[in-house]
Amino acid sequence: MSFFLLMALYGILAIVLESTWLSNLPTSMLRFDFIIVAVAALSFYREAWRAIPVIVFFGVITDVASGGPFGMSILSYLIIYGCVRMVLAKISFQAGAALIFWIAMISVLDKLVSAVFMMAVTGRIVFAEVIIQAAPAQAILDAAIAIFLIPFIKWYWDLSWEKITRPKGLVMK
């Protein structure tokens, strides 16, 4: 239960930060995306019954906070999850460099899904232009964030009240 609660808090905080303090950082077309990194971490490391509800929740809150059509982020994140699970047994992602590469690929996939979805919904090519132009730089940024964020997320989702309040000496024993 604490896993779901912690991840819900993470998602809300990430969306709030991305839409306020970090909304123009580093630039208005290139953003810190803590959600996509979390989606990647969930896809790589957590079992389906834990990962899917959290990924759907992340998609819902992203869609609620964003001006895009409702359902776009949910769809995009679930496609990412599905793709990662399909190739998980065939790829190496534990090593640092490999993980960074795969996070960049996930970021590009997210943008591609958004571009295709928006083109299908609106019939206008301008979305694809905007999204694809920003995709390479965004992928590099997402991969760079993942270096720090994935270890944090892995520590964070196992956090419990006991772990926080337990004396350090006892943990050492």
């Binding site: 709030v16 930060l17 839409s19 123009n24 899917i52 001006g67 359902g71 928006m118 206008r124 132009q133």
Partner: protein, 289 residues
């Protein structure tokens, strides 16, 4: 692994997909009253957004004033102690003055429109870089409804998209989902301004919009001012949008295209005004924060 086991593994994927279909089917368009599930989530997200936005404003005020004080120290060391004592007052006064200036600009601009309007504060931007929308601190409780026009001190900002009880999302004119029926002020040539969400080198930190469906014989040139036509029954006629740049006259085709640089810098919006369509002009409601 049996076929049944293989199929049961797909169930966790099928459930959310069905959920998506359900959500998508409930979505009828960009401008609407937020459904209950969205309203619940927005009510979770909006309070921290308001809080973070307020803290951000305060911190940026302190930051900018801090540099101003460094300059003052270098110029006059004797005043340092005095300045330090008055620092907090100065910061507060400076912020209030800036806000007053912005609100005065908005109010004087508002006088040109025979509509009742309310001032709203921008509390959040779009978390997705490819979409350009803002969240304001006014909702259904303040009389805000979907598709109401939103203006800034220099011109058109956008229209209301999703609304909930205490906040609303504004679809900016620079968003690729946005379309506005416009006229060239000088020649009355008609076209559509659509968002591109792309920056322009013509005016740093501004976004570009495109004017489409202009007739080939239209009288239009660089520097022409583009205003709303009022024909779309969303925006009142005559709200300035921007100036024409880079007219594209291809050899073939029925229509002309032109880039339009909006008057408003969407990244710097802090207060906007919602025109309560159809209502008669009365005193505006002051901003909460």
């Amino acid at each position: 692994m049996s076929l049944f086991q293989k199929k049961t593994r797909l169930i966790p994927l099928l459930i959310p997909l069905l959920l998506i279909i359900a959500f998508l089917s409930l979505t009828t368009g960009g401008a609407r009253r937020a459904p209950w599930y969205e309203e619940i989530l927005r009510n979770i997200i909006t309070p921290p957004q308001r809080m973070f936005s307020s803290i951000g404003d305060a911190v940026s005020g302190v930051w900018s004033s801090y540099f101003a004080l460094i300059g003052a120290e270098e110029e006059n060391v004797i005043l340092r102690e005095h300045v330090a004592k008055l620092q907090s007052d100065l910061i507060r006064t400076d912020e209030v003055q800036k806000e007053n200036g912005r609100l005065r600009d908005l109010l004087s601009y508002k006088e040109t429109f025979p509509y009742q309007a309310i001032v709203a504060k921008v509390i959040a931007n779009d978390p997705k870089a490819e979409f350009k929308s803002i969240t304001i601190n006014r909702g259904v409780e303040d009389g805000v409804k979907p598709l109401m026009p939103v203006i800034g001190p220099r011109g058109l900002v956008g229209k209301i998209g999703t609304v909930d009880s205490g906040s609303a999302r504004v679809l900016l004119i620079i968003d690729p989902n946005s379309t506005t029926d416009v006229l060239v002020q000088r020649s009355r040539a008609r076209g559509l301004v659509v968002g591109t969400a792309m920056r322009t080198e013509l005016r740093p930190s501004y976004y570009l919009t495109r004017m489409e469906y202009l007739r080939r014989i239209s009288d239009i040139k660089d520097g022409d001012v583009v205003v709303t036509s009022g024909f779309d029954r969303i925006f009142p006629a005559g709200i300035p949008i921007g100036t024409v740049n880079d007219l594209e006259k291809s050899r073939y085709g029925v229509f002309l295209d032109a880039n339009v640089v909006p008057f408003e810098n969407m990244d710097e919006l802090q207060e906007v005004m919602v025109l309560l369509s159809g209502a008669k002009k009365t005193a505006s409601k002051p901003s909460e924060e």
